[in-house]
């Protein structure tokens, strides 16, 4: 997705803050905010890959997180390091993770892009940019997902498998300061978005 920072929705105006070296946030990071069309575009109904069977396997996936952006970014940095991937910030909320080994189709390169729904609710889109799809999927399934487990609320497309999550966010709603666009949320689980 393209990155735009919308002023009305953005409580985190202010300078560009790259991945923080010491894991603490100095300023809240600038991220892309979603408008109605971006949100609608997440629908599984647009994912026509299913017409082609399992042949065209996913080269991207998304997960939801209840953590603040700075925590997500720190986690991505930590995970990259442990997987020996180089992480670099491309743009607001967009990070590139690159492997050094030349796989069958070039070095593996993954984009991780963070979108804000609210200050404590983010969507992260993980997608393969370059390299072998099988290698990418293996990395995501075996390495990335377990490593990100403690910041992930739910991964895309897991609606059926997922047990009832407690409605924890109703408590969060009371504590949370409304942003200028007054978005308050209560969620049970975030699922099945494509």
């Amino acid at each position: 997705m393209e990155k735009q920072v919308r002023e009305a929705n953005s409580v985190e105006a202010g300078g560009d803050s790259g991945p923080s070296k010491n894991g603490e946030n100095h300023e809240p990071p600038q991220l892309a905010n979603l408008n109605a069309f971006d949100i609608i575009g997440l629908s599984a109904g647009f994912d026509l890959a299913g017409l082609f069977g399992d042949v065209y396997s996913k080269q991207e996936t998304r997960f939801a997180s209840r953590k603040p952006a700075s925590v997500i970014i720190s986690k991505l940095e930590e995970v990259s390091k442990s997987l020996k991937l180089k992480i670099g910030k491309q743009d607001a909320g967009l990070f590139k993770l690159e492997g050094s080994n030349e796989g069958r189709k070039g070095a593996l390169s993954i984009d991780a892009e963070i979108f804000q729904v609210t200050q404590t609710f983010h969507l992260v889109e993980v997608k393969k940019c370059n390299g072998d799809t099988m290698e990418y999927q293996k990395l995501v399934e075996e390495d990335l997902r377990p490593a990100l487990a403690d910041i992930v609320l739910v991964w895309q497309g897991e609606k059926e498998k997922h047990e009832e999550l407690p409605r924890v966010l109703q408590d969060e709603q009371e504590e949370q300061e409304p942003s200028s666009s007054s978005i308050e949320t209560s969620t049970s689980n975030m699922t099945q978005f494509a």
């Binding site: 393209e2 919308r6 408008n35 109605a36 069309f37 949100i39 575009g41 629908s43 599984a44």
Partner: protein, 214 residues
């Protein structure tokens, strides 16, 4: 009736209604003849999964997308509706190829943009109106189990209208839509399926199959 249909079938092979010659389709879409033959084999698989009539019914479409022939999904319904150009409730082969071709990487952006605008214009008024936007946002939220308050949803819609409805007439016309697309091309992201360039790589055997029929 069947005899009548058979009169129109090619001598060697029988084709369902709505079949179009691959050479014709190739001349009018970015697909090559080989790719269209490969797509025909895919089409046959999809169109006979529930009703063996060589036409893709809604249930078969939903089965392919969701593994659930009775899935409720507004956007899948709209995609089906858009593919069903003749609006006769089924997707024929010609419609299948021509509609898929909109998603081809080589198809010009303005075609994708126009397709998506019509898809989003769920009441077919020629405009995307706030209540349609709201309905679509709610539908998406329904897919995710994320609940936002009424106010939040309206705030999102209002914010979008503010940004997109530049002539302030309370609705989004196709000009304003084009401006939005120009500003944020990612809105068309769903409209390109990169692997459409590779159908024959994945289904090489089908190219031969298509000549040996039924």
């Amino acid at each position: 009736m069947l005899a009548f249909v058979k009169c129109f079938a090619l001598k060697r092979t029988k084709h369902p209604p709505g079949y179009e010659d691959p050479h014709v389709l190739a001349s009018e879409t970015p697909f090559t003849v080989n790719e269209i033959e490969a797509l025909y084999n895919l089409f046959k698989k999809l169109s006979t999964s529930i009703t063996d009539d060589g036409l893709i019914h809604k249930e078969e479409f939903l089965l392919a997308l969701f593994r659930n022939s009775s899935m409720q999904n507004l956007f899948a319904d709209r995609v089906f509706y858009m593919f069903d150009r003749k609006r006769n409730g089924v997707i024929e082969f010609g419609e299948f190829v021509r509609s898929l071709s909109i998603f081809h990487p080589y198809t010009p952006e303005h075609e994708k943009s126009s397709f998506l605008f019509k898809l989003y214009d769920i009441h077919g008024t020629g405009f995307i109106e706030p209540h349609e936007l709201k309905k679509m946002v709610c539908a998406l939220l329904g897919e995710t189990d994320l609940e936002l308050s009424e106010e939040s949803i309206e705030a999102i819609v209002e914010q979008t209208m503010l940004e997109v409805d530049t002539n302030k007439d309370g609705k989004i016309d196709e000009e304003e839509w084009k401006e939005l697309v120009a500003k944020t091309p990612s809105i068309l992201k769903n409209m390109t399926l990169p692997y459409l360039k590779e159908v024959t790589l994945t289904f090489p055997s089908f190219v031969l199959d298509s000549e040996v029929e039924d």
